[in-house]
Subunit: 227 residues, 2 copies
Amino acid sequence: MRKNELYEFIKLYLMTVKIKQNKKEATRERNQQLILAAAEKIFAKLGYDGASMSMIAKEAGVAKANIHYYFNSKECLYETVLENIVNSWNLGLEDVSVEDDPAVILYKYIQYKVILSIEQPMQSRLFAIEMIRGAPFLQDYIRTNSRPWFREKHELLQAWMDAGKMDQVDPNHLLFTIWSTTQYYADFEAEALLLLNKHEYEEIDVKAITQSIAQIILKGIGLSIPK
Amino acid sequence: MRKNELYEFIKLYLMTVKIKQNKKEATRERNQQLILAAAEKIFAKLGYDGASMSMIAKEAGVAKANIHYYFNSKECLYETVLENIVNSWNLGLEDVSVEDDPAVILYKYIQYKVILSIEQPMQSRLFAIEMIRGAPFLQDYIRTNSRPWFREKHELLQAWMDAGKMDQVDPNHLLFTIWSTTQYYADFEAEALLLLNKHEYEEIDVKAITQSIAQIILKGIGLSIPK
DNA sequence: ACGCATACTGACTAAAAGGTCAACGTATCG
DNA sequence: CGATACGTTGACCTTTTAGTCAGTATGCGT
């Protein structure tokens, strides 16, 4: 019975610990999230150098020194924000096999990326700023994480082409084309809205954008919009 | 003969003025260009806030105070750089009429924009940064200058479609698609090179990029690559 | 209730920013 | 040759920045 006792003890202990740390740990988690959200917003709007720690503190509703309590430096905070974004990035083209229909998969991917661009434009912009700067913080991450993902998708597209399911196009540039066309509406929102003479995107725009991009790209690689 | 005399006098006077101002005005012109070139480089690499006047001064090889002699403020310098870029921007799709072949015209435009992206990436990046910031300096310029240009091209594309020369696509999004796909290689050079596992673009890449983009977009709107 | 670790902050520092200015250098003209 | 306007600069100013720190407040376990 010793085993059982031990098990019960551990279970109780863990529960106690959890309850004990509830308030403190919850505060910790909450404030970190608050700071990260504020940082994402400010960094995306003003860039790394344009953003100041006091602005982020004000946005998050905490004292500036408190940010330094959770994050050692401005660089550290920026890096954390960026990695959080890229971590939640490459979804939307996952769990795909050669058997799937490229038209359906790619249409969904375009749709997914357009929605993300319209609804979370700041993430896209923050990523863009980092790339424009030459990816000083993200280049290691891209090398180790994005590259395998990219290779995998490259092979998938190539397999579809080999199977005669779509036209022969350079898979690299096809992926770049999908990224750039969809992210344009986040990164260049100011230009797009000014030229379209709008104040903000509407629900109907999301559909029109998705449709236009999908029409051009899918037909461009020998497919057609599904359904 | 008085008219002729006056004309000769003016001609001589202007020549004299030109000669007189040669050295000083040449220096003025030269240094302004030097400063503007340096500013373009530094602003594009580090953004508006990341760039400092002393860096630009160092890059241009002049004293910091001397920049303020030619340009009132950092904002003024930044604005001048931006407007110079956009002034030399919308070329490549000029002097086009409905009678022209859309395939030829659009292929040339894509080619032009790809070359510009590869050879002058800093201009594209500076523009991108300004747009990401919400176009605080360029929005007036876009409203008054880019919008008419955009409307004109919109009508041109619509006319081609009405004439049955190409598929029916939203002309706005078609233009956005061309811009985004071509500018991607400048703005996201870091990402593209990392994923392509290259140190820099080569001559062959320019052709491959142009070909891939043109293939997808032109076929996507019912055309094919000319010649 | 008390002691202790965690959470938090106002007030500070040193560095760097944009911008100014008086003084000096230099080409042009009477 | 002066006189004048333009070109140039080092030194300086104010403001803002990232980051620090001593000290306070707040739960938590005993």
